[in-house]
Amino acid sequence: MSEPSQQHAVAPIGRRVDAVESVLADQGLRPAEFVVEATKTAEERWVPENGARVVAKAWTDPEFRRRLLANGKSAVAELGYELPRHHRHLVVLEDTPTVHNVICCTLCSCTAFTIIGLPPDWYKDLEYRSRVVRESRTVLKEMGLDLPPEVEIRVWDTTADTRYIVLPLRPPGTEGWSEERLASIVTRDSMIGVARLSAGAA
């Protein structure tokens, strides 16, 4: 079963996908329709702007921040965001001037994708998965985040179905900004924890 049959070359990826889709169609599952619907959901509803709104609200509403840190899943639901049923818990990791959090999944590529979007390639690549747990400071520096030595790094490996997002530090120079304007500077990278934010991005 593990060895590819020797008679033929490996089928091109598109034809392998066609073959699998035809099997699901045989089951009456209407895969073609589902692909359209699921892709629309992934591209339009599961976007990092969701997490950005959560972060901006946490920066401006101390009561919401408290609820978010106590129970991420129920707090994001207040803003209309859901996690898949099997993600039963969302832990929000609060950065401070002396603590920096970063998330990963060394075993596969798990993320809170309904909140921060489907993970980018580099998050799923073997380089990030192998190195960020063991060489976090080096990897972050290579990715452009050179943390001062006094900042403690906390890496979170998503090995179960609990999900994590980082609540980044609110950058200086954003005093008095509206929630919308604040949300516009929050990036997916900052919610994964490979970037800090600056007011200049808006």
Partner: protein, 205 residues
């Protein structure tokens, strides 16, 4: 299983190819695979633990050379064959070529008898178990000591759920490990937190 998928702490990989603005998909077939595996899960053909385990069972050379969505497709196709929805021959006939699938599964296991309960602040040690089937304990924490910093609600026990073995749901604990404990004198100084199932843990002596 101590598979090729268990990447945490492996050495020899280079710089992360960071692309801050890249989209999640680069081709239509990737969108289709992402939707089709999710359709199969929703339809009850297999569960997420079976799906993850079939990726882990890929032949290692195939695993490291395949893209993320090719790994996803390989798992999906493997499970459709294993669940009896199609034969491998028929799948290859439809694909008009060979269709590499994952290797067969080893037996799963149920919850560990006598597993303990923990509270935030408890010192724990990860059991030195070597599990032939699916397991969500990365090898880099095997036998290592840490401190419980959080508790999650009960989840299906992956070691059983990926194999159709009956088991109780188990909570996971977020356990904090110092990198000096995980890789003494051979890692950047930091804390690594791992979501660890109850069955994988013992109270630290």
């Amino acid at each position: 299983m101590d598979g090729i998928h268990d990447m945490g702490g492996r050495q020899g990989f280079g710089r992360v190819r960071h692309s801050p603005n890249a989209g999640a998909f680069h081709a239509d077939w990737e969108k289709r695979v992402n939707a089709l595996y999710s359709l199969a899960v929703r339809s009850g053909i297999f569960n997420m633990d079976e799906y993850r385990h079939a990726i882990e069972r890929m032949e290692p050379r195939h695993y490291v050379s395949a893209s993320y969505y090719e790994r996803s497709l390989t798992s999906l196709a493997t499970l459709l064959v294993e669940k009896g929805l199609v034969t491998r021959d028929e799948l290859e006939r439809r694909a008009q070529g060979s269709f590499p699938l994952a290797s067969p599964s080893a037996p799963g296991r149920s919850n560990v008898p006598g597993r303990e309960r923990f509270a935030v602040g408890d010192r724990v040690v990860v059991r030195s178990d070597h599990v032939p089937g699916h397991v969500r304990m990365p090898a880099y924490i095997r036998g290592k000591r840490g401190v419980v910093v959080g508790e999650s609600p009960p989840y299906p026990f992956p070691d059983a759920h990926a194999h159709g073995v009956a088991a109780d749901d188990e909570c996971t604990y977020d356990v904090r490990f110092a990198t000096a404990e995980l890789w003494p004198n051979a890692a950047d100084d930091a804390f690594v937190h791992v979501g660890v199932f109850r069955s994988y843990l013992l109270a630290a002596p």
